[in-house]
Symmetry: C2
Subunit: 196 residues, 2 copies
DNA sequence: TATGATACGGAGAGTTTCTCCGGTTCAACG
DNA sequence: CGTTGAACCGGAGAAACTCTCCGTATCATA
């Protein structure tokens, strides 16, 4: 269900103005930014904002869409450039970073399969599946892992981590598990996050 | 920094009324419930609410405090009743459930070390340490694990999981790790969550 | 019981979300 | 090119919320 671009020239222009203003304001104030402020910054009345984006989530989804597309494209590149395990882990790091942008906008959208305007879940599912399946076939990752597990765990980490270092730490722990290794050595087959 | 109970009888009575009303309303509507509604339900003016609990967080902390104390007491019991690994895992399950109560109140408080009124961080740290250290000495859990890791991971899972089943699944994954086991068998030394 | 410190409560200022509708602008068509 | 009606704009304003101020009422103490 895609937010259909308006047909009339002035409407389309306002749509773009609002999207640009929303991107800027949300980057500054996070997903709870005042919608009035966004309309004001776009030089448009509140009514216009609400016509184009009936709910706050619709606006957030529109802002979110561009970045998500870029992230999924990156998944494709990684799948071709690197061995399965490395590619997956590298993408997970990008996913964490993405989920932490804009003060939680990313995580909020990623967890909302019913987000209007963008089918985040399908896009993420495609990208994650593209990386997850080869990694499983290569025996690097549990066979019973599903993409929803990945997305949820990453979103949780992103919401909870106070900064990039903490996020990295939590991702490492999640990949390796909290249990002590039987062999005594903590490291698994490959290093957790050596990929740049 | 403890929320000091008021001295005068009517003040104390209103304090209790507000706490009870807040507990009820927050259970229904979550941590973003209207403060006006809470005051109304307590049969008290808005001014009175704000005198007793200057900020929303102060009120949430007061509501949260009782449950947190119970949770920490349970940690003590578990540490005495069960072997280290089991006790820790059982408590983590309780922690997840706790963090999911009241539509996210638990997770919100657990992650806010500066929460006014209750030093959640210290209480949690004490309880978690009481279980974590023995588990590490018994070699069941990674030696480099810190209690902050536990709390954050659990809070993340709680915020993200759509229901108890998903939370359980994510906790299992986090305990065991996402990587395939070298030995091919997915299960670690002990079952992840066999404890009732 | 008298008294002053303490606490109450509601009016109201300032925000924010969201709706409604009179007026305006665009695009298609003759 | 001018007309026309559909699409769109903008802002007034209702409703809900947070938070403050202060006149009034209540309690504890002596």
């Amino acid at each position: 269900m895609q937010t259909t671009r308006p047909r009339r020239a002035d409407a389309r222009r306002n749509y773009e103005l609002l999207l640009a203003a929303a991107t800027a304001v949300i980057a500054e104030e996070g997903p709870d930014a005042s919608l009035n402020e966004i309309a004001r910054r776009a030089g448009v009345g509140p009514g216009t904002l609400y016509r184009h984006f009936p709910t706050r989530d619709a606006l957030l989804a529109a802002v979110f869409q561009g970045r998500l597309a870029a992230l999924c494209a990156r998944a494709e590149e990684l799948a071709e450039e690197r061995p399965p395990g490395e590619a997956l882990v590298a993408w997970l790091r990008l996913l964490v970073a993405h989920a932490m942008t804009d003060r939680g906008l990313g995580a909020r959208m990623m967890l909302n399969p019913a987000a209007p305007g963008v089918d985040c879940w399908a896009m993420l599912g495609g990208a994650a599946g593209r990386l997850l399946r080869p990694a499983q076939e290569a025996g690097v990752v549990r066979a019973d892992l599903e993409f929803a597990d990945l997305v949820e765990l990453v979103a949780g980490i992103a919401q909870v981590a106070s900064g990039p270092e903490r996020a990295e730490r939590l991702l490492t722990l999640t990949l390796d598990g909290l249990r002590a290794r039987d062999g005594g050595d903590q490291r698994g087959a490959g290093s957790s996050l050596r990929v740049p």
